[in-house]
Amino acid sequence: MQIPAPFEYARATSLDDAIALLTRYGDDALVVAGGHSLLPMMKLRLARPDWLIDINELHELDYVRRHGDELRIGALARHRTLLESAEIAALFPIMTEAERVVADPIVRNRGTIGGSLCQADPAEDLSTVCAVLGAQAVIRSATGERVIGMDEFHQGPYETAVEFNEILVEVRIPIRPRSSSSYEKVERRVGDWAVAAAGGSVTLAADGTIEDAAIGVTAVGLSGRVTDAEAVLIGHRPTDALITEAGRMTSAAVDPMTDQRGSVEYKRHLAGELTQRVLKRAIARARRQEA
């Protein structure tokens, strides 16, 4: 049994209560959602909060609902909920495909979208998904709410715009017509973090050209989107050559490290290879939507 350093525990009874507790204990407190990133780090004593503020009772943060041309996901929505949502599968197959390869069922039963985004691990699959889908994060503090884009939300590995006395409460994803998306990851084993992964989304114009495109990669030293590669696609008719070029540019843009999961050359190759695969799938899906 791996034993964490001593800590105190409080179960928040409401969102306001959670924010009040965070404000009271300041930097020494951390929110615990699914606990599947935080608790392993505590057991290895890499994280040592004095206080854990448990938000698992805040069921009002656990939802997936459509609101106009947005899909709104509560921060406490579990991976499993997202994986099994028919609405998400129809609107954002990238998220369903990513959820299939996030960890394993045990982790997915507990882990949350809020925790995934706030953990901001460079290998977190949902960070890429949210970046590609142009999601916005709703952050609450004692004084009110702010809504920011993913590029502002993620400030670097393990760093986000969420302050110590704030809570991420919701993720909003714009729903766009004639659009679809895809995600693919290479892992050494089911449940392993990504060696590399890529997500892509496209919107087709009425004439079949690419009106908009987004590309994101996971675990290869580039957070946010691969804008250069996106730019070569936009305004053009999707061809194999075009997609190959987008893949090539993604390969060039990433900055991976050699580790037990693979060499720099391999990860660079994967970034390009997987980008091509997800773009092809996203385009095919978007076309089917048109039909």
């Binding site: 350093a5 290895l44 050494r188 084993r189 060696v195 693979g262 060499s263 391999y266 994967l270």
Partner: protein, 807 residues
């Protein structure tokens, strides 16, 4: 499969399990056959009792402070702050152990290992101090208050450089040590092999690396020690695969007389060799109990298990093979560099410092063979033989099976055909393998052809041709391994002077129920079922009427324990023989009961009857009652139906198998999918086919793990990069196919029931089949070799023409 819907309530007794034939009363064998495991109900229903479940009154908890670096001199250790923390009862360092002569203890290979470091730390994770506290939290927290001043030294991490003249000397504790060399060992005939190579048409060479892996049992290691200062008795609960050997060694090391030590191995959550050795934590729990006067529990956590306990493999093997142009095998040479870590703690018979690597000639005939193993110290965890390896047979089999495929590639010959052409033939047994071992029996060609038929070998090759034409990467890999298990004959084999024989005691109670006591220790192998079946087969008492007792030195006869697939070959033989002894005694009693001569009786399972008159008979149950009753017994027969034996095996048994693996590789990502895997095993007489299949399924899963993902890596500073299950990957159900199994039966001629071991066959045999399959898939790209683990990244690198060794 169709499932029969049955009401859960109101069903007739036994009917619930109808779709499992082995569970139906009528099909339940009295003897060999498919039988559900007797031990399963307690595991399935949460009634297993493991070491960590042991809670004694007043028990305290220990935690170990471990070295953060791989190589450093200890300047000072300050425990004062830790001692002052609430709940802390004692803090031990190496200095406290020195006067007790317990700072160092012998390893299983006649080296010594530190219990708590006194002079230097020699690997990351080495034991430095031991805190004993009221609960495990207080103990763990107090570790952070111990201040150790280290003078960091350069480590020896790369074993290829361990013998360099300027390599730091790790074992300066040993008088006169000026380098990191442990031993050189050789087998075969060097000169004859050289001559064969010189004259051969074809010679191929290949480096084959078997990287360091870990058995990673689900239950980590631990102990609860309870020393009674008044009686001088030590009760020790321990995660041990070898309770009797541990008791003897602990007696020799601690000075506590052996008869005062009661060692109990309760249920064990997986061993795989990890629980053969004696770990510092066990000794510390004992010392802790002596020092505090309380029982002390020590249970390591996952990282401690992965970083400090017995690893396996770590062999760099240079192979060469000589053959004729048309594929007749002539000679094979192995030159191995072995990493034994900081202390030479490999567990193997004394005269076999490279285990049974002698099996590297495999299943083939050669004109000459030569093997050499050089072992070295490095700044890594000690251990060596572990993980279901039959004492380095894993390395040996992997080596020869990779080499055979390498030659097939060179000769552009089908690897199945090359094997068929060179197998040892049935009439050549007993067969001297030219490296010191004599194989007992085998029908290799028959088994191989059976496997080829089951997998559809020719169709697979056809499919491969079509796929290759489309640019798809599909591989078919073969491994045909021969193991030598069941160590072993006392005159050749001992561990620290203890001969590798095993005892068995059988008592038939008056009512005809039985208890058999054995010296081996199950870690999941179903001993409580199979050993009951051996007794049942020999004497006709149903297995459910036979209790199997193991894992408790006070309740079982002496023997060396379970590892190296030795339980059935050694203890299984002991159990068969002790049952025959009881049966012979029963004959004398039955003769008296039937008022006839023993010679006039004949045995039918479960009863003695008068030759020619089957109605005149006495069942074993009736005889048992008579043995304990008032009847006048024949001269020299005392009033019980008990016996005991100790079995000294005349030879090892040599199970073997033909394994086939089909893989598909994603060209764009290098990801390997094991699509099919067939294991055809020949383990001689099959006691319980269900248990055999279970052992094979588990071992094959291990094999996929090693072939595709498992490795303990170190950075250049000697930091262990595999210290958690996030970093040290073990396979899940998702990485393995539906296992296909088959069998042939070639009994061992020297084993009482003809059985050979099966516990490790699949772990030994499967990695080569998988890796050969990967190489076969990649061969159109010019790839001739790749080392484990075949992770997507390593496979992709090989596809680009730069396959790199993992170490």
């Amino acid at each position: 499969m169709t499932l029969v819907e049955e009401p859960l309530v109101g069903a007739e007794h036994g009917r619930l399990h109808d779709h499992n034939p082995a569970a139906a009363d009528a099909d339940r064998p009295i003897g060999f056959g498919r039988l559900q495991r007797k031990e399963d109900p307690r595991f399935i229903r949460g009634q297993g009792r493991y070491t960590d479940d042991v809670v004694l009154p007043g028990m305290l908890h220990g935690a170990i402070l471990r070295a953060p670096v791989a190589h450093a001199r200890i300047v000072s250790i300050d425990t004062s702050e830790a001692l002052s923390r609430p709940g802390v009862r004692a803090v031990l360092t190496g200095k406290d152990l020195e006067p007790l002569k317990l700072a160092w203890i012998p390893t299983l290979s006649y080296d010594v290992q530190a219990v708590l470091a006194t002079d230097k730390v020699r690997f990351q994770g080495q034991e430095v101090a031991f805190v004993i506290a009221d609960d495990r939290y207080a103990a763990r927290d107090a570790l952070e208050s111990i201040v150790v001043d280290y003078d960091v030294l350069p480590p020896v991490v790369d074993l290829r450089h361990a013998l360099d003249a300027d390599a730091p000397v790790i074992r300066d504790d040993i008088e006169g040590r000026a380098d990191n060399h442990i031993a050189d060992w050789e087998c075969g005939d060097e000169a004859a092999t050289r001559a064969v190579f010189a004259a051969a048409d074809v010679v191929v060479a290949q480096e084959i690396v078997y990287p360091r892996v870990h058995p990673a049992p689900m239950e980590t290691c631990g102990a609860v020690a309870d020393f009674n200062a008044v009686s001088g008795e030590l009760t020790l609960y321990e995660t041990s695969q070898a309770p009797h050997a541990h008791r003897t060694i602990i007696a020799m090391v601690s000075g506590i007389p052996e008869h005062k030590i009661h060692l109990i191995s309760p249920d064990i959550g997986g061993g795989f060799g990890n629980k053969v050795g004696i770990y510092p934590g066990y000794v510390l729990a004992i010392v802790g109990s002596i020092v505090t006067g309380h029982p002390v529990k020590w249970m390591e956590d996952r990282s401690e298990n992965l970083m400090s306990t017995s690893f396996a493999r770590d062999y760099i093997m240079q192979g060469e093979i000589a053959a004729t142009k048309d594929g007749r095998l002539l000679g094979i040479r192995a030159n191995v560099l072995a990493d034994h870590g900081a202390f030479n703690g490999t567990a193997q018979p004394t005269k076999y410092p490279a285990g049974f690597f002698n099996l590297f000639p495999g299943s083939y005939t050669w004109d000459a063979v030569y093997g050499k193993v050089t072992s070295v110290y490095t700044n890594k965890a000690p251990g060596g033989v572990a993980y279901a390896c039959s004492f380095r047979v894993t390395e040996a089999s992997y080596f020869v099976e990779r080499m055979i495929d390498r030659l097939a590639l060179e000769l552009k010959m089908d690897p199945a055909e090359l094997r068929l052409k060179n197998f040892i033939r049935p009439e050549q047994f007993p067969y001297d393998n030219k490296a010191g071992f004599e194989y007992d029996s085998g029908q290799y060609e028959k088994t191989m052809r059976h496997a080829m038929g089951l997998i559809g070998y020719d169709q697979l090759r056809q499919e491969q041709v079509e796929k290759r034409a489309r640019g798809e990467l599909m591989g078919i890999g073969i491994s045909f391994f021969t193991e030598g298990v069941g160590a072993g004959p006392r005159k050749h084999m001992d561990i620290l002077g203890l001969g590798m024989a095993d005892g068995a005691e059988l008592r038939i109670h008056p009512t005809g129920k039985a208890v058999v006591r054995i010296s081996v220790q199950s870690q999941g192998q179903a001993h409580e079922t199979t050993f009951a079946q051996i007794v049942a087969e020999e004497i006709g008492i149903p297995p459910e009427d036979i209790e199997v007792v193991h894992g408790d030195t006070d309740r079982t006869p002496f023997g060396l324990g379970t590892y190296g697939s030795r339980s059935t070959p050694v203890s299984g033989a002991a159990v068969a023989l002790v049952t025959r002894k009881v049966r012979d005694k029963a004959r004398l009693i039955a003769a008296a009961m039937l008022e006839t001569r023993p010679e006039d009786l004949e045995w039918a399972k479960g009863r003695w009857f008068v030759k020619g008159d089957p109605t005149a008979s006495r069942t074993i149950q009736e005889i048992a009652m008579a043995a304990h009753g008032t009847m006048e017994l024949p001269d020299g027969v005392d009033g019980n139906l008990d016996a005991e034996v100790t079995y000294d095996p005349p030879n090892l048994t040599y199970p073997y198998g033909a394994y086939f693996c089909v893989t598909d590789i994603d060209r764009g990502t290098g990801k390997v999918t094991v699509r099919r895997f067939l294991a055809v095993d020949d383990c001689g007489t099959r006691i319980n086919p269900m248990v055999i299949e279970g052992q094979v399924h588990g071992g094959l899963t291990d094999g996929v793990g090693m072939a595709l993902m498992e490795i303990i890596e170190f950075d250049p500073e000697g930091n262990n990069l595999g210290g958690s299950f996030m970093d040290y990957l073990i396979p899940t159900a998702m990485e393995v196919p539906d296992w296909e199994t088959g069998f042939t039966v070639t009994p061992s001629p020297h084993h009482p029931i003809g059985a050979k071991g099966i516990g490790e066959s699949a772990t030994v045999g499967s990695p080569a089949a998988i890796v050969n399959s990967v190489i076969d898939a990649l061969s159109p790209l010019g790839v001739t070799g790749i080392d484990m683990p075949c992770t997507p990244g390593r496979v992709w690198d090989a596809m680009q023409g730069h396959a790199t060794p993992p170490i």
